[in-house]
């Protein structure tokens, strides 16, 4: 499949499913210097379904807040403007992706993988003293967005990739590259851009399979947070948390190059990943919102 083919496929889709309007509005007010916290809460409150989901999520063990959150303003006060915007965007993405048909791909396992990457990225980021831990969680969580699109809109191609990866015992991305000239990172990037997701999410999707030398095109392309997401992705695959479409015989390797630009060692990672099963169990609410 050439790029022109995927373009054609995109044209037959005519329009990528759009995110709920609340996501677009939030996007607009995030860029509006005149906007305030009350604008954000007004926009969210107008969407009752998102409001209910948001409150359910922030009151879940995933956020582990010491008090019950009863309204959006309180949620913003406790978790911050930026964080709440990301949560709403994530919930919007979940809602849109839920409507995409899935035939042979286990969505639950896929989201377990994604949430695990999000959590581990966040923990590794803390260990590295990387500041924007909320950005990195969202970015880790949505890094494989393109796979959901391929599954939903290009099912035959997606199945071919899955089968090849399974038959040859190779990674999903390698199977993609053997079969087509477009992969899930490109498709995911297209979705993320079209949906105007934050730059760090676009960067995580675009570069999570690339070495630092191969990364270009975005102002965040060289940012170490991508190294963190790459490392987390490989650790989660090695630890067999959920499934991301790799062949079941494929073993991902934790090579030295992954640690090259990060102030942590393999021992640190082994230590951090020890608690992951417990952390994942706290994110049941998030997982249910994705399904």
């Amino acid at each position: 499949m050439k790029l022109s083919n995927i373009k054609k496929t995109i044209e037959t889709i005519r329009e990528l499913p759009t995110l709920p309007l609340v996501a677009n509005k939030i996007n607009a007010i995030l860029h509006d210097p005149k906007s305030s916290v009350s604008d954000l809460s007004k926009i969210i409150e107008k969407d009752q379904s998102i409001t209910a989901k948001l409150l359910k999520l922030v009151n879940s063990a995933h956020y582990g807040l010491p008090q019950k959150v009863n309204n959006i303003n309180q949620a913003i006060a406790l978790l911050g403007y930026r964080n709440i915007s990301y949560i709403v965007m994530t919930l919007s993405v979940f809602d849109t992706l839920k409507n995409l048909e899935s035939k042979s791909f286990d969505r639950r396992k896929f989201w377990v993988h994604s949430i695990a990457v999000g959590i581990l990225s966040q923990k590794l980021a803390k260990e590295c003293d990387y500041l924007l831990v909320e950005d990195i969680f969202t970015s880790g969580l949505l890094h494989d967005l393109g796979k959901v699109f391929l599954d939903g809109f290009m099912h035959e191609e997606f199945e071919a990739i899955i089968n090849k990866a399974e038959k040859d015992g190779i990674a999903f991305i390698d199977a993609e590259h053997e079969l087509f000239d477009v992969d899930h990172t490109m498709v995911g990037e297209w979705m993320a851009r079209t949906w105007r997701l934050p730059l760090h999410v676009i960067a995580g999707i675009k570069h999570h399979h690339q070495e630092v030398e191969q990364r270009s095109g975005l102002s965040l392309s060289q940012d170490p947070f991508i190294d963190i997401i790459r490392l987390a992705d490989i650790c989660i695959k090695a630890g067999k948390f959920g499934r991301s479409g790799d062949g079941s015989k494929y073993r991902s390797k934790l090579n030295k190059a992954l640690f090259r630009r990060l102030p942590i060692t393999k021992d640190d990672v082994v230590h951090i990943i020890g608690d992951l099963t417990r952390d994942l169990s706290k994110s049941e609410a998030l997982l249910n919102l994705a399904l």
């Binding site: 607009a28 007010i29 509006d32 107008k46 490109m186 297209w190 105007r196 975005l218």
Partner: protein, 418 residues
Amino acid sequence: MARKNEEQDERLLRIYERLYRYTHEIVIVLTEEGDVREANERSASFFPAEIVGKNIESLFEGIELSLSSLFESEVIQTILARTRHGDRQKNAFLLSFIPITSNDDKGELLVIGKDLSETENYREQVESLHARVRELEEEKKLTGEVKRGKEKTLALSSALKKLERTKGELEKINLTLIKELELAAALQKSLVPHNIPDDQYLQFAFHYEPMQFVGGDYYDVTDLGDGKKGLIIADVSGHGVSSAFIAAMLKISFLNYAQQIQSPATVLTKLNEEYCQVIQTGDFVTVFYAVIDPPHNKMTYCGAGHPRPIFLHRKNSTIELLSSEGFFIGMFDQAEYTDKVMEMRKDDRFMVFTDGIIEAYSDERGEQFGEKRLLECFRDFSEEPIDCVIENTIDRVKSFMKKSIFYDDLAIVAVEYK
């Protein structure tokens, strides 16, 4: 034996006399009824008047014991009592009542009183010292609290000052930002043509309304010679200075390529190659570019992810949505673009716009204006001059939105082969 007893008695008498005369204590002998039979000289220093014959209870206050019972038990009782002196200073005494039974069954009580006033003084002094210590401690505590209070007040007021300063700085930054945004908005407004281009074949009409400080909409008409005109409309995703900046760059690149390259698809390919390198913000640009060639009755166009323009063929009054298949600009550097050619005859017209029009949102209805309503406008006003078409369309969009908060720019360009 008797002599020995006598000697013994004399000795006791001497001892008693010594005690009676020289002791520092008061020594009183009481009858069984409690009346003073005799008192030593020391007693006189505490009682100004003669006390012999007076009852002990009239001399001391605080004696609450039955004297007769003392004889029965022959127990020495010691009690604390004070001298009764009216309003004079009262002395505290430790009185020991020693019952002495005589042979004639008449008992006497020997009372030895130890003056406690000195001890009392000390006790009082100690007590007052204690009280003072307590006072001092209290004072100290209070001073500490006051000090702490002062410290707190100081810390609070310095925090408040800091807050005020920060607020001031923020306001300043905000003002600077707003100024910069206004500059960017001014820059962006200067990108779009302000005067309707005067053309031999074509009639143009524009409407542009930035709803925020800065948007990323851009349109332009350029003269390509031989009666040909190039019409571009573009929408940079995102908002703010970066979008205005990208739009400004796009104008320069476009005007440059349009003069050199005939094919709209090639122009878009060039723009895409250039902007994949340039745009680092994750933003992208949707573009529709048409080269209108009235002398040859044709229009060549190419779209890149842009909303599809609406074309009216006057001959058979059909309305067509032009295709805009190309990938948006600024992401895939290998994206391919293809030209489409169509006939454009006299009185044919078309309208290009940015997504702000179709995505205009009504809070009341909970939906967007959409392509369908826009098509209706175009059809309904097809007999009106094109500037009226635009005006009426904008009116409809606005009355659809009512007072809803609007989030995107509105840009429309209409062209008619006059």
